[in-house]
Symmetry: C2
Subunit: 245 residues, 2 copies
């Protein structure tokens, strides 16, 4: 029987700027008696990566531009927070009272450029996404000797509710092209490019939780793939080929 | 440690119209020595539900309308196939050579209204989505005595690659509203409506596969939730509140 096991790493301490995140996680794995084996993938919630990388910003240090002030008035958000969102974004997709959807400089489309004020433990601070999530994943994967996915929760077009997605990946095909393979009956598969790392992030999200029980690190055991690795940047759909909007 | 286990049910026979799908799956569970326990969720690929419900259509029996003929010319698809897509849809979102994105009568936005010609085993046939996937899930959940998710793979706006999504659900909150709960630091969560059934479908998709190894039934063990059940229809985002397009 093919099985997949997901294990939420217990007892990880609060992560602070400058922490050696890989060392913290390795210690957590050792305490839990978990030794990494072939095929294991570690999924890390974006928040702990961002915190370790010192991506927390004090709002008091932010000087909003007039553009940010105007958008803050439209959305009812703190102008300094909106300034951070704009500085991280290439364009505003939609703005409405209470909601600001942007395209992040790295291409992700999400609320507030992925910048978060919850689960932060520092009043008056906001936490930006890692500067280079694929680079962060690659560095962590090299330390662990296993593939790494950095996950976040994004809202979506057409469908309600947030789902886990991959904003960084290393050591596995974030986008897995299965085109040209035969289906069960020898016919070529029709739709066959899998958002593999997004599905991994979504599965981990079932354990990571979004509330008080948040578990930022999930070990996924039992995955199999047979395509070369590519980064989460491959998951960004170029506008020219986006027919789903 | 919080764990989640996913088990692909082995040895399920090819499903045909009129088959008692619940009985086939129960027999498969028994053969595999798997007894359902509290918290178990069964994820069924849409194809086997559609097949059991007799949703396979012979293209030879389809008479395309002039609208379907025109759209077939634009997309390079079989006019009879396009006719089936249109009959299942409320509107065409985008059409281009090789691609036809529509909004299904039930609200899902996907390629070809979820109608598939691969993995079908019947040349010249196409397989429609179940007539009422939430109803199908409810009937199956009643038989199994456990929650059921009916999954499919959809493309997405903004992101490349398909991911597993829930087109039917029963016995669990397909959309799980966590708003108002405290985060780790007692602050109210910001983004906190989870596409729970979509994440379950995405996790199962990691085992279901899309190629020759397709495993249409996945048992998910270890999930926890504390909200009342709602159907997959709740995952459809009303156009008026869709800021992600």
């Amino acid at each position: 029987m093919r099985r997949l096991e997901l294990i939420a790493l217990p007892g990880l301490p609060m992560v602070a700027a400058g922490d050696d995140l890989a060392a913290l996680i390795e210690a957590g794995l050792a305490r839990a008696g978990l030794a990494l084996v072939e095929g294991d993938v570690l999924v890390l919630a974006q928040k702990i990566v961002s915190k370790a990388e010192g991506r927390s910003v004090a709002l008091a240090d932010v000087q909003p531009t007039p553009e940010a002030e105007a958008l803050a008035a439209r959305t009812g958000k703190d102008p300094r927070f909106v300034q951070l969102v704009l500085a991280e974004s290439q364009r505003v997709v939609r703005a409405r009272p209470g909601l600001l959807i942007v395209q992040h400089r790295l291409g992700f489309v999400s609320a507030n450029a992925g910048i978060d004020q919850s689960n932060l433990g520092q009043e008056g601070h906001a936490l930006l996404l890692p500067r280079d999530p694929d680079g962060s994943a690659a560095a962590l994967a090299a330390r662990f000797g296993c593939p790494v996915v950095i996950s976040d929760s994004f809202g979506r077009a057409w469908r309600r509710g947030t789902v886990g997605v991959a904003i960084g990946a290393a050591g596995l095909p974030a986008l897995w092209d299965l085109r040209g393979r035969p289906d069960l009956f020898g016919r070529t598969l029709q739709v066959s490019i899998s958002g593999f790392a997004d599905e991994i992030a979504a599965s981990a999200s079932l354990l990571q939780g979004q509330g008080a029980e948040a578990q930022p690190v999930v070990l996924v055991r039992g995955l199999a793939w047979d395509a070369p690795p590519n980064p989460a940047a491959e998951l960004i759909r170029p506008e020219s080929e986006d027919l789903f909007r």
